[in-house]
Symmetry: C2
Subunit: 360 residues, 2 copies
């Protein structure tokens, strides 16, 4: 494998492609459109890997990311974030370049689009079915209807878009299946009340991974699954062996007295996203060994227990501790791969090829 000398985000390309393929096939078998969220990798090169599986439409989370992928030949892009009306000039430009999908949840935002964008765009109403982050509450049918009428004056009222973000708080498959079915039911009830012609687009990685097939929806938008991470493994969306990215971190200090090591790999590499272990203690990553062909399964009783800006403090079992010395490289599976990728800004494949992103 590629020889690492500094904190490096390794990418197992084969695993990432398997993750893409699995979801693309499941979407196809269910007859739903797969519009993957590119906010996880934000890389033109990784974007290309999806094309082989028939993907032609994508999701992004910011206007900047839409501009980047529009420049890479993607011409069907939904920005799955309530539009920032202050950047309307950029959206106007984008609407001339690609088939643009915008997400709204207020009459005010629709009026800005109607007034400023002359080329027709697809407009999705963001609907809140229970997560309580963004969206119009699904029971506000009159408000939603009014929005659709307002959109229809100038643009295409394309669909109802929802994100079942509360699946990320679960770790039992039947609970996630239940959330998915309940909320899809609410969206269908809403669509029926609105006349039945809107698409339904949903997006979380847990339910997209756990559902065996997709009924009563038209589109899925999961993003994280290209890499997965420890959070998704804990939820049950993937197996640890499906995780496709791993931070390689040099060991800079060892502490036999407390069976701990410190690596160069901190909050500016992994992010401060944490999970709680069975004793309620926070951890920031799971430790693996790097080998010729990739990385091992998680090591028992080893985890990243604290992060400073550049330091990662790792507790190790005495068995594993014995094998580590200054200058060793440890692998860390990230808790939240989207944030780790955003911080690391580029990937290195197991063969040492560097893959750039929007940020590098």
């Amino acid at each position: 494998m590629y020889k690492v000398t500094r904190p490096t985000l390794l990418l197992d390309k084969k695993k990432a492609i398997q993750n893409i393929e699995r979801m693309a096939k499941k979407a196809k078998a269910s007859g739903v459109n797969y519009r993957p969220h590119f906010k996880t990798h934000f890389s033109k090169e990784i974007g290309e890997w999806y094309r082989e599986y028939g993907v032609i439409s994508i999701t992004v989370s910011s206007i900047d990311m839409a501009v980047y992928f529009a420049g890479q030949g993607w011409n069907d892009i939904t920005i799955a974030f309530p539009i920032n009306v202050l950047q309307i000039e950029v959206l106007k430009h984008l609407s001339k370049q690609v088939k643009l999908g915008l997400v709204v949840e207020s009459i005010e935002a629709i009026e800005v689009i109607n007034t400023s964008i002359s080329d027709s765009v697809d407009v999705y109403i963001k609907v809140d079915t229970g997560y309580r982050r963004t969206g119009v509450w699904h029971k506000k049918v009159d408000d939603i209807n009014e929005m659709i009428q307002s959109v229809a004056d100038h643009h295409v009222p394309k669909g109802l878009l929802a994100h079942f973000g509360h699946t990320y708080r679960e770790n039992q498959k039947d609970r996630i299946i239940s959330i998915f079915k309940t909320e899809v039911g609410l969206l269908n009830a809403l669509r029926d009340q609105l006349g039945g012609s809107l698409l339904i687009s949903v997006g979380d990685t847990p339910s997209a991974s756990i559902m065996k097939s997709f009924e009563h929806i038209d589109e899925i938008r999961p993003g994280n699954l290209v890499f997965y991470d420890v959070m998704q493994a804990q939820i049950g969306s993937c197996r640890y062996e499906d995780i496709a990215v791993c931070l390689a971190a040099p060991v800079v200090a060892v502490y036999p007295d407390r069976s701990e090591v410190v690596v160069h790999g901190g909050a500016v590499h992994l992010s401060k996203e944490s999970l709680l272990d069975s004793e309620g203690k926070a951890y920031y990553g799971v430790v693996v060994l790097l080998g010729e062909k990739g990385w091992s399964a998680p090591l028992d009783d080893c985890s990243v227990i604290s992060l400073s800006q550049e330091h990662g403090k790792i507790t190790m079992s005495s068995k594993e501790f014995e094998k580590v010395k200054i200058g060793s490289i440890l692998g860390i599976l990230p808790v939240h791969s989207c944030l780790t990728a955003n911080l690391m800004k580029e990937y290195t494949t197991l063969r040492g090829e560097r893959i750039s992103t929007l940020h590098q």
Copy 2:
């Protein structure tokens, strides 16, 4: 003030310079060397602001950062992180370019330096006086003595370097003063046992800010104080009005039912560093209003209560909520400015000048 249209890290240059000046004067009055940590801003332009206050020596947290500042005319640089022996070739190159300070805590690392670096470098022994992150435990006098002897064969055993990181967990000034005095005492006892010629270099922002003068040490290395942040205000290191950076975040959705707004400003802008409020709930930033000449004091009963990748969810008092609409800009004082700056990659002054960093 500069008109913001997207998430933007505003920098109040006047406050930052006041923060630098205050510490530079205090260090000078105490007769200690001020070697500011540049990991907080990692910007060549902000680095220049220190020169006016007599700063000629700096601290960095990574080899990459040392290379960047060496290229900006800084020629006395300490890398306050246990050396990564895998990057010894870069250190070798740097040792020819600048007066280089390296931090070690093992014979193994010293042997790598002795074998590989022919130009003389200053070597500091990292000493742990209680934080239990990195460093040789201060009571291991024989081990430290052996390290110093080993360094002396090829290089200059320059000093004992410590970081009282446990001050970050305190919020009472007398506790922080007590930690500082106790640990400085331990370092002096150690220095005496080692023969008395080593420098003592210490570094945390809380004690550097709270101590009125510095006795029995030779050097201070605080970094965060150039910007400060909510964490430091909570600790008591600064006043809220000393905080010199603020994320300007566009409001993209408003929720009258729950008195909440969502801004474009999430984990990829602020970082997931959090603090606990008086009820034990996590928050990710403090809300201020932006005005012509900067930003207001923190708004009562308003805070960032959750972050997704791009979304920030803010709870607001009904009084403040009424003034906000889609397209408004809210200011967010970050919990941890070092991590926010690292994510945002550049600064915008109140006049709209963009200031670049190592990352942009």
